[in-house]
């Protein structure tokens, strides 16, 4: 009996060694995540807007980046450009049309590692009912335990660009720029251990 238990113990130990490392699951921390965009205004300067209501999940293993997963949903009615009249306009039917398209989503499809701290994510962005690929250049800032809440956390900075006309948003072209720069600062946490 003792031999049998010893054999089973060895088997379980070896099985544990042979199993592939699983990617950690993170949930985007809305308090410390910022999703901004910049767009040319008549050639004078860039207008900056941000979304304040979003959610998302990240599945990430630094040793197996290509197996990562990312899904972000943004509530388009949370758009803010620091001007009430402009917010009203941008949420209206001519721009983000938040009544008919209350959310925009980004789903990561392919992940490429450039070096230990940077890479690209190419995913499908769905905006105004149109889905187009968008590539983000991503820098992994830090991964580890948050010293305050002791949760495992990962932090990224991402930059990208899209053409709004690709999504059918052609209002005021070319006076208002077609290219939209994306700026994302993301912190995501693992759930508390049970």
């Amino acid at each position: 009996m003792r031999k049998l238990l010893g054999f089973l113990g060895t088997l379980l130990f070896l099985a544990g060694l042979a199993a592939p490392a699983r990617a950690a699951e993170y949930t985007i921390d809305p308090t410390h995540t910022h999703i901004l965009f910049m767009i040319d205004h008549l050639g004078f300067a860039k207008m900056i807007g941000l979304f304040t209501d979003f959610s998302g999940n990240i599945s990430f293993d630094p040793n197996n980046v290509t197996a990562s997963q990312l899904h972000v949903t943004i509530n388009t009615s949370s758009l803010d450009t620091q001007n009430a009249q402009r917010n009203k306009d941008l949420k209206g039917a001519d721009w983000f049309n938040v009544t008919e398209f209350p959310t925009m989503t980004f789903v990561g499809r392919s992940y490429a590692k450039k070096d230990d701290h940077s890479g690209t994510i190419t995913g499908d962005l769905t905006l105004l009912g149109v889905t187009r690929p968008v590539t983000l250049n991503v820098v992994l800032n830090k991964i580890g335990k948050n010293p305050l809440d002791k949760k495992e956390e990962v932090g990224f900075s991402a930059r990208g660009m899209l053409k709004r006309s690709d999504f059918g948003m052609k209002t005021f072209l070319p006076a208002i720029g077609d290219e939209v720069q994306l700026i994302l600062e993301v912190e995501a946490k693992q759930p508390s251990p049970m």
Partner: protein
């Protein structure tokens, strides 16, 4: 370069050109029946230049549907010689309205059905009155020029309300179309080709902008949008009755006076908005 800098200039010039050329062609061809399509033609030209696209069919989203509603208005206006029954107007307004409202009908809230009813009744009354005014004689304070001027007054009054209601694009489209309709109104006033009653249906696209603003953008002052057509229609009716009989021998002067009265009435809601909150119209 200047054209690209100001999003208003190109659509305004194009609509002006479209209105003037089309009115000229109708006169040269001696085919006033086709003149009924003019408001819709101007609308389509303005739409393509303001929104910078001809949307794919089937359209996704209310602003893309606007183009096809304008196109339907054009076809209906061309066929209006045969279909002038008020039921046709009501059906056309309702069809456009329900198409715009479709996403909200899937999950209706308390305010949706009253808004639909008001927009349907209001839109039908506006088209019906435009048709009646267009069919009336200048001596009665009506005629094609007055009907077109009433559409212009409605657009001019609507433009600032659109800006206040969260659609600077609707403001641009309204202003651009004003220039095209202005050219047509002038041609009608001078040549009296009889653009006639059918032109009312061509205003379907303009009504759809209002529908979109109320149902989709949902940031507009509904009471002012209701007050606007009431003021213009009531002013036309009152001016046509109250103008001194002495003006009757000069029908063009009568048409101009009625049109000016409508224009003044149309701007009252915008004046109200300005005095309520002067910052509303800051660019």
């Amino acid at each position: 370069m200047v054209l690209a800098d100001n999003p208003l200039i190109l659509p305004t010039l194009a609509c002006l050109l479209a209105g003037a050329v089309f009115a000229g062609l109708v006169r040269l061809a001696r085919a006033p029946r086709f003149g009924a399509a003019l408001p819709a033609l101007v609308f389509l030209v303005g739409y393509v230049l303001v929104y910078a696209k001809i949307p794919a069919f089937p359209p996704i989203g209310a602003t893309n549907k606007l183009f096809y509603i304008g196109l339907a208005g054009l076809l209906l206006a061309l066929a209006a010689g045969r279909v002038r029954h008020p039921a046709v107007l009501a059906a056309a307004v309702l069809g456009a309205l329900l198409w715009i409202a479709a996403p909200r009908l899937a999950a209706p809230d308390a305010g949706l059905y009253p808004a639909l009813l008001l927009l349907w009744l209001g839109g039908t009354v506006v088209l019906w009155r435009l048709q009646a005014v267009g069919a009336a004689s200048p001596a009665q304070g009506g005629g094609g020029a007055v009907a077109l001027a009433m559409v212009m007054a409605l657009l001019g009054g609507f433009a600032p309300l659109a800006l206040a209601g969260g659609s600077s694009t609707s403001l641009l489209l309204a202003l651009a179309c004003l220039s095209g309709l202005g050219a047509a109104t002038l041609a009608e006033l001078v040549f009296a080709q009889g653009f006639g009653a059918g032109a009312a249906l061509a205003a379907l696209g303009y009504l759809a902008i209002v529908d979109t603003l109320v149902l989709i953008t949902r940031a507009t002052d509904a009471l002012l949008l209701i007050a606007l057509p009431l003021l213009v229609l009531a002013t036309q009716a009152a001016a046509a009755r109250l103008l001194p009989a002495a003006a009757a021998p000069w029908p063009r002067a009568r048409a101009v006076l009625v049109s000016l009265a409508c224009a003044v009435a149309a701007f009252l809601p915008a004046v109200f908005v300005y005095f309520r909150d002067p910052d509303t119209f800051n660019p």
